[in-house]
Every structure is written in structure tokens, then in C-alpha cells.
């Protein structure tokens, strides 16, 4: 793992009272490798390492820490800061006149429908009256999937018959939410590619018509190098307010989160940690940082 590799590096270089540029360069090569193994985007990894380099060179080797531990602690601190970011931006913003709208978007199979149900469950525990909206009219049995989850949770699901247009479904759901006094509306949209112009226009239209308070990118923790391009395209189209990293109960390192955060500034708001409807956790930057570093 990374700390062993760094120890190995510093054992080969002389122990000093300060970290020299040579020490730091050797160590940061290992850090960059660890980040790329963790699926952090190449350019993001390079930028990150450059920032750490500035902080590390000339840093005093603190009394009780080995040079390797010193570099690692600077790296960890920087990573937590980037991931954790501004106070409060990892929380859901649902203040204001109800019903507030949360829109979920993302690539095919990332976990949107399951996450919609998890969010509804979470928000109900917080005293909200959520309404789930089945806006995926493409995938076979997608509406049934959300309805089935809604039944399990006894949370209402708004849906329309086959042939209905997803944009109109979302618009209609808002009227329904007002009638039913729901306080939060969660829009589950179809999986789509960021390069599919027609499908991207669909979510742009939904956003323009409904002004959702939160637009969350649901991203698979195991996403590779393309995470950056996917997130930037979605961000450009619908102005993301946050992301949810799913399948964090596996062993994917989750470097995509660093890439997305760095390039789009979008904060992680939740993590999906299982298939059940209670498997949603708030985001802990320090935990994700150690996981990415391996």
C-alpha cells in the first residue's frame, strides 16, 4: 500500500531534518501512481501532486513523524480539503417553499432508481413527505421498478402510462405534489450518455421547466478515466449541485470522486453503500481520502 511504498522510498534516501525536493519528487511519483490506480483522472492526479509538492518541499519533518508519514499526512490533508470543501456544501439544500425538487441524472446502470428510493426513505425519516417520480419511459419495467420500491417503503410514486413524455411527466408531478402536500419531489430520470444530444436535451428541458433545487449526478464508484468528461458534460447541461457515489460497499477506490470534484467543483452529498433502501450514508471526506490513497 501507499504508506509502505513511501517508507521504502525514504529508506533509500538519507534521513534529513527537512524534506528535500528530491525526496518529495520520489514520494510524489508514488502518490501519483496510487491515484491513477484508484481511477483518478490523469490530469487531475498531476495537478493534485503539483499542489502537494509546493506544500511538501521544505516542510519540517515533524518530530514524531517519519519523512514518509510527513508526506502522507500532507497528501491526506490536501485530499480531504479538496473532497470536503466548503462548510455545508455537502448537505442537501431543501429550504424554501415546498415542494422542493431533487433531480437525479447519470449514466446507465449507475444506481439512480435505487438511490431515488433511498433518498425518499432518508428524507421521510427527516420529517419530509417525499414523492417519487418515474420519469424513465425507456428502460423495460423501469416504472415498475420504482413503483415496487415505493410500495416497499409506502412512499407514493407518480407515474404515467406508456407513451407519456418524460418532461411532461415531471411537470405534471409537481402539480400532483402540490395537491398531495408533498414537501419534496424526487425525479428519477433514465440513464443516458453525456454524448447523446437528444437525451441530454431532455434533462435540460426538465431542468428549465422545473428549476430543481438539487440536481445530483449519480455516479458509480468504479467509474474510470471518463468520469471527468461525463461529469463536465452533465454539469454544463444541467448545473449539478452535487453527486452521489454508489456501490461504495464494494472495493472500488472511488478516485472518480476526486476527478469530478476537482474539475466541476461538485460536492459529494451521499454515498450508496448497498442495495437495500436504507443503504445511504452521508459523505465523509476523510474516509474517501484514505480509500482513494489505498
Amino acid at each position: 500500500n501507499l504508506s509502505k511504498r513511501l517508507e521504502g522510498i525514504f529508506n533509500n534516501l538519507g534521513g534529513q531534518g527537512r524534506l528535500t525536493e528530491e525526496d518529495v519528487n520520489a514520494a510524489l511519483r508514488e502518490v501519483r501512481l496510487a491515484l491513477i490506480e484508484a481511477d483518478v483522472n490523469l490530469k487531475v492526479a498531476r495537478q493534485f501532486v503539483d499542489r502537494v509538492k509546493e506544500k511538501a518541499i521544505g516542510a519540517d519533518v515533524m518530530g514524531s513523524l517519519s519523512p514518509a508519514q510527513q508526506v502522507l499526512s500532507i497528501v491526506n490533508e490536501e485530499l480531504v480539503e479538496v473532497l470536503g470543501g466548503v462548510e455545508g456544501d455537502n448537505k442537501l439544500n431543501l429550504g424554501g417553499t415546498p415542494p422542493q425538487i431533487i433531480m437525479l441524472v447519470g449514466l446507465q446502470g449507475s444506481g439512480k432508481t435505487t438511490t431515488a428510493a433511498k433518498l425518499a426513505n432518508y428524507l421521510r425519516k427527516q420529517g419530509q413527505r417525499p414523492l417519487l417520480v418515474a420519469a424513465d419511459m425507456y428502460r423495460p419495467a423501469a416504472v415498475n421498478q420504482l413503483k415496487s420500491l415505493g410500495r416497499q417503503l409506502t412512499i407514493p410514486v407518480y407515474s404515467e402510462a406508456a407513451g407519456a413524455d418524460p418532461v411532461e411527466i415531471c411537470v405534471n408531478s409537481l402539480d400532483y405534489a402540490r395537491e398531495q402536500a408533498n414537501t419534496v419531489v424526487i425525479l428519477d430520470t433514465a440513464g443516458r450518455l453525456n454524448i447523446d444530444e437528444r437525451m441530454m436535451n431532455e434533462v435540460i428541458n426538465i431542468r428549465d421547466r422545473l428549476h430543481p433545487r438539487e440536481v445530483l449526478l449519480v455516479a458509480d464508484a468504479m467509474t474510470g478515466q471518463e468520469a471527468v468528461h461525463v461529469a463536465s458534460d452533465f454539469n454544463q447541461a444541467v448545473s449539478l449541485t452535487g453527486m452521489i457515489l454508489t456501490k461504495m460497499d464494494g472495493d472500488a477506490r472511488g478516485g472518480a470522486a476526486l476527478s469530478i470534484r476537482t474539475v466541476t467543483g461538485v460536492p459529494v452529498k451521499f454515498m450508496g453503500v448497498g442495495e437495500k433502501t436504507d443503504a445511504l450514508e452521508p459523505f465523509y471526506p476523510d474516509r474517501l481520502a484514505s480509500r482513494i490513497l489505498g
Partner: protein, 278 residues
């Protein structure tokens, strides 16, 4: 972009970047670059184009020869077990394969082996209706092994020659779920002497280095005879394919290129390598 075609340090940097950017992974990329440097000196390669050509050769070698679906030689029924992590595209891929095999004249049957996820059975049944292929299923939350056994019997009595078994998505790190899969595999092995004839793992092209961990664990726990890489219509290149094919000796058999039933193509190593640099 280079002015001349000589082999410079920046050429090696560019190659490294394009490989890493395609999710080929650091250890495979390092191996490839070292191998190419060796070939440059051994074969006295002079130009960047020659290095590019050599790279494509090395990549093709890692992938192995193209390999098609393996049918039963002993029993009249071929059984294909489809596995993989959550959301990778298993159910959709099964519909595509069933469609293709029906078009080729086979009598296909499907087993709704995902009895856990909301509307998983509905999803496969809807596909079955669309492509007119029978689907064997039981109630949600029934034992997947029982459904598979049911389907094996139905396929046999109906005279189907291909049974494709859908399974629930599962993370390879989940002990109980991997044990469940081993059990399903045993049921098929007992019923069909040389089955399952294909243990196809479905992997999402947008996956990063975790793909290798997934494939290794599935291979270790129940064995793999082939891989399907889905969602190659995205911008992802699926570069993990090289490490998976080479490391595990398992061929990539098909690729998924969209959400429609026709969007399944046999894997062509040459095309895949060319697309890496497109």
C-alpha cells in the same frame, strides 16, 4: 503533436497518456512501454509510426484470438450463465443474445434468475415478450437456484437448444452472494453434464481498474469462459480488457454498443485496438 516522426521522449509520454486515459491501467501500461522500448532496440525501430504499429501488435497479442460462443457438444441443450456486478448490463445483454440466437435459428429460453432486485423479473419478461422468447420465472424473492432448476427442466422438456440464465447483479466482495452463484453453477453442472457451456461475465466499459478485481474474483470463485464489454457506445474505451484477457486468459466474446436489442456485436480484436486510438 510531433513535427517529425522520430522517437522522442514526448512520444513515450503521449503513448503513456493515451493508454492510461483509456483505462488500460498503470501496470499494463508500464509493461507495454517497457516492451516497446525493448522492441525499438531489438528491431532497430526508427519512427513513431513504427512504434505505434508495434503497440497495436502488442495490444492485439494481449487480447488473444477472437472467440465465438461455445455451444454444447454432448447434450442437446447449451446453457449460458450470465454474471457480473450491479448495473453492468446483464439483463439487456441477455435479451440481445437471445434475439441474435433466435435470428440464427435457435430455440432460446431465458431463466429469470434475479429474484431479488425490484422488477428484475418484469424487466426480463418484458424483453422476452418483445423478442418472443419464453421466460421461466417464479415469484420475487424465491430461491434463484429453484428458478434455474425449473428453467433447465422446462428447456429440456420443450426442446430448447439454448438456455440463458440471468442472475442478480452482485459485488464480487460479497461472500454470501458469491456463494449463491457457486450454488447456481452447481445446479447447472449437475443437470447438464458439460454445462454451463458459457460462464459469461458482463463488464461495463466505463469501469476503471476495479474491472480487473471483479474479473479475477469471479474467475476464481466460479470460473469464466468469456467476457462481454457493454456500453462501448459511450466515450469509455474499456482499456481494462487487455489486463483481463491477458491475466485470466479469458476471451472477450461480445461488445454492447447501445440499449437496443440489435446493439450486440461479436468482439473483433483489431477493431477494438483501433478504437482505442480513435
Amino acid at each position: 503533436v510531433q513535427e517529425t516522426d522520430t522517437i522522442t521522449d514526448s512520444l513515450w509520454d503521449e503513448l503513456e497518456e493515451s493508454l492510461l486515459g483509456a483505462d488500460v491501467g498503470p501496470s499494463t501500461t508500464l509493461w507495454l512501454i517497457e516492451r516497446l522500448r525493448q522492441r525499438v532496440s531489438d528491431e532497430n525501430l526508427q519512427t513513431g509510426s513504427q512504434v505505434q504499429y508495434a503497440l497495436r501488435e502488442e495490444l492485439s497479442t494481449l487480447l488473444g484470438k477472437s472467440s465465438s460462443l461455445r455451444f454444447s457438444k454432448q447434450s442437446p441443450l447449451t446453457v449460458i450463465l450470465v454474471i457480473g456486478v450491479n448495473g453492468s448490463g446483464k439483463t439487456t445483454t441477455i435479451a440481445k443474445m437471445a434475439y441474435r440466437l433466435s435470428q440464427e435459428g435457435h430455440q432460446v429460453m431465458l431463466a429469470a434468475g434475479d429474484t431479488f432486485r425490484a422488477a428484475a423479473i418484469d424487466q426480463l419478461q418484458e424483453w422476452g415478450n418483445r423478442i418472443q422468447v419464453p421466460v421461466i420465472s417464479q415469484k420475487p424473492n424465491s430461491d434463484p437456484g429453484a428458478v434455474v432448476f425449473d428453467a433447465l427442466q422446462a428447456a429440456q422438456s420443450r426442446g430448447s437448444d439454448v438456455l440463458i440464465v440471468d442472475t442478480a447483479g452482485r459485488l464480487h466482495t460479497k461472500f454470501n452472494l458469491m456463494e449463491e452463484l457457486k450454488k447456481i453453477n452447481k445446479i447447472i453442472q449437475k443437470f447438464v453434464p458439460d454445462g454451463p457451456h458459457e460462464l459469461l461475465m458482463v463488464i461495463d466499459a466505463t469501469t476503471g481498474q476495479n474491472a480487473l478485481l471483479q474479473a479475477r474474483k469471479f474467475a476464481e470463485d466460479i470460473g469464466l469462459t468469456g467476457v462481454v464489454i457493454t456500453k462501448l457506445d459511450s466515450t469509455a474505451k474499456g482499456g481494462f480488457a487487455f489486463a483481463v484477457a491477458d491475466d485470466l486468459g479469458v476471451p472477450i466474446k461480445f461488445i454492447g454498443t447501445g440499449e437496443k436489442v440489435e446493439n450486440l456485436m461479436p468482439f473483433e480484436p483489431q477493431n477494438f485496438v483501433a478504437a482505442l486510438f480513435a
